[in-house]
Symmetry: C2
Subunit: 187 residues, 2 copies
Amino acid sequence: MGRWQPGSRERLQGAALELFSEQGFERTTVAEIANRVGVTTRTFFRHFVDKRDVLFADTEQHERQLADATAGAPAELAPLDAIIAAIAGLDWQEIAPRAAQRQRQMVIAASPELTERELIKLNALTAAFANGLQRRGTEEATALLAAQTGLTVYRTAYRRWIDADTETEIAHIIDAVLADLRAIVTA
Amino acid sequence: MGRWQPGSRERLQGAALELFSEQGFERTTVAEIANRVGVTTRTFFRHFVDKRDVLFADTEQHERQLADATAGAPAELAPLDAIIAAIAGLDWQEIAPRAAQRQRQMVIAASPELTERELIKLNALTAAFANGLQRRGTEEATALLAAQTGLTVYRTAYRRWIDADTETEIAHIIDAVLADLRAIVTA
């Protein structure tokens, strides 16, 4: 590995997000991102495959974490509850400050290319949930249905968390989403 | 419009599906598809933008149908039930014979490019369900959650219908999926 400064990965992510927000994803170049941080494009490419990768570089790690946490949830939990426990166990604020995550979602929503990428990632996350459930013995049909339902809870809770003004606890948001979902499914 | 034979659109779709299954989507050319039906590539391009479009040309029409049917479902139905009524009201067998739809899904699953396209279409369908619900007065947050849940029911029921050996009624499959979903959400 090279001799870049510690933290340049995070600084590149911050600079990219700023530039994407200011002037749009399509109009931003790797050179501009590197320049804003004061590193070379070579350093950029040590950390990321391309500028799109800046926004999605961490998602595979989260997929693995969520699959493992689902598989390892207490045995007595029902399938959906195992997924919920995995989601609630993530430190969302630690992944990135909420304002940065809100900005990231706005950048993605503004670009068809990034929206496509996001849909692929969400599909991979559904597969990760199903995989986690099957590792704990849930049979396939139930695992697939619970995984899709888990993704709905995840997306909805994440969206509400990002949009929330106050420091609402993620656990409370998830509980509220689950209550809404139960009302919808049993109406 | 030109003077192509009646039915050439359907024949092109059938020939494309055969060729994609036999030799793969990537390796099939528009010229081969047109050739198998005995028409020119010009006729092909009167019906479809490109070879990928053969597989997705009808999906926008189905989105509109499902959005309209959701919006127009009896006023006393709860949001998810309005979506279910729309799904159950489609004549799935009439869209294409089940064997052809099974073949189509296998072609899509074998190609990352087509899988991406399918995910975009499913996302558009979720938006269509939400749109249909909002037109009947459902507030946005509930509409979004019910639409995602409706998509889960749709995908699961469609998959089970495609995989079924016997002529199981789609209404029975939907009922079974709903029962499974209720069990997962209320466990």
